[in-house]
Amino acid sequence: MTDILFYVFAAITLISGLLMVVSPNAVNGAICMIICFVTTAALFVLLEAYFLAVIQVLVYAGAVMVLFLFIIMLLDVNKDTSDLLKDKMTLGASITGFTLLVILTVSVFAGGQHLPETALLPVMENPSGEGVGIPFTTSAKSFGYSLFTKYMLPFQVTGFLLLAAMIGVIVVSKKHSENS
Amino acid sequence: MAKTKVLERKPLTFAEKTFLPQIVSGLKTTFGTMMQKGVTLQYPEERPNIPDNYRGVPTLVKDPNGREKCVSCQLCEFVCPPKAIRITPGEIDAEAEPERAHVEKAPQEFDINMLRCIYCGLCQEVCPEEAIFLQDVFSLSGYSREEMINNKEKLYELGGTLPDQHGKWDKKKAAEQSGKTH
């Protein structure tokens, strides 16, 4: 059953991702992108990363894509859908490159046995916490333990980055008055 | 120059700035009205109280003896601003209706086009015989334009009988019978 779910969700993710890239209408693209994000969240659920799945839906599908849609609709960039692509050279080159990349990926990860297929480890319900090598658990608590022990510095830096981004956005989007 | 008085507006207190006391008082008000009885009327079953001087649909009335009061003088037809009234005057056949012979005249046709009527009440005001009244009927409906033209039967049906304090025709009849005609 979970195998079927994996194939279904992976297929939807890839197809909607591809549709997003090639769809001439930006709104269509954004909707495909939302579907792609949600199905990726479903893949996270299959990987038992429930917290990240929810975060993915909440942040990406719920906030980021709303922003995208908002901007797409506000700027009304769908007007010129006719000249969607760059020149023919770029088109050919990018399609060739894409095909090569796909062939490479498929041949590495689908054909060969370069990575061992490890069995799923038993999931521990309560994280032991501090130190290195935090074991994989499904509970959100282990995120808390890790964030405030091993990853304290990145956590602080991320917070600072968010503050900087917020100030940056305010500065960039502010209309400059004449006398300033 | 009119004297103007500028009122100082009091600065809002902290509680007022949060809007919460106002919201609570508003909620109290609405809850109070919710507890009260509704003021609406269940219309088709319950009818509103129509005051006596209400100007509803114009109707023709009969006198207490069941006689037509209208003598087709056509004053209402002339005075009607939207020209909604159409009267075909007629005479009363003295042989056929001996008890009404003294009235002499009655309308043959009396149509009021309710699509045109503006309920101004001028017909009622001008009528010398007090035969036309704007009464308490206020809802009219129909499926076609023809239906909205009230003919004589309809008008009498709507109007019914009103008390008559003058008894004009009775007096005239009495006078005729006693031979005191002028």
Binding site: I31, Y50, F51, V54, A61, F70, A140, K141 | M34, Q42
Partner: protein, 370 residues
Amino acid sequence: MELLDAFLPYLLPIVYAVAMISVFMGLCSYSVLAERKVSSWIQGRVGPNRTRLPLLGHIPILGNLLTGLGIFQPAADGLKFLFKEEIVPGHVNKFYYMLAPVVTLAPALTTMVVLPFGRYVDADGITQPLVLANVDLGMLIILGISSLGVYGIVLAGWASNSKYPFLGGIRASAQMISYELAMGLALLPVFMWAAFPGSDYGMSLFGAVQSQQTLWLFIWQPLSALIFLVALFAETNRLPFDMAESETDLVGGFHTEYGCFKFGLFFVAEYAHVIMGSALFVLLFLGGWNFLPGLADPWGNGLIGTLLSVGWFIAKVFAMIFFFIWMRWTLPRFRYDQVMSLGWKILLPLAVGNLVFNTIIIALYDTFTR
């Protein structure tokens, strides 16, 4: 037979889910009726009192009573929506125009999966929630999925391809993003108190209810409750915050171009959101199925106790729905800039301050009680 055995584990949840959706949709249609009735009472009217079913409505006294209460009105409303002529304006983007109502309704129905509505005591004597999926991240899932609900409104506004719906959609998207922040931040102190060290519950709603056995969080965290309530009103697009469909300045907002059943879906979705919001508020701040603040659960352990807990929870939800409706018919609509400044300049700083304050309190508590 083997096939049946293989699919039985999947069949049972589906049956439960369908049952819950049926009950939920019934509640939705009757909250529409409640809205109409309460609004009419507040305005000194009588409200819907004419719809009469042929057989049931003609029982001597009961029939008249039910008809007067408008019990059969939702059926009439639903049938009206179903059998009206389906009109699709010529200028719309057909696909998204059709999709939008579905996208609006689906998240509200999906969040129901993690919503506990009662409790039972299992064979081992452990209290368990009555819920479709008892997951650790209940609250986060609800926040995440309900954040998808905005797409319906945005898509409806955009696909209608006309001015007023578009403005409604844009307003709704900005408003919902703004209030989601305050909502999430207001919830954090609640779960910081509910998931005390040593408890098994993370962001689960069941844990939040269990932590309110003696003291409701509404009393313990009034500021959080207030911020959450205001944000809830904004998220459900209800008056005083229904900027998406402010009929005085935007005709009908995002559903101006919608009619018949598609409009009906929007309509049901609004009430689905209201019911979800009420249930959430009851679970988080009004003690869920716990009896009264200060009183321990009087419900027994058996089946009757379970039913009583469910009934008490639903009664609280009804009270909350009534509050939603009451609020709607009391307050006038905010102006759009007022909505935005309330969200960003007042609620968000308040929520952050509340969070910091509670963090300090918890830290002090931990320091001095260990």
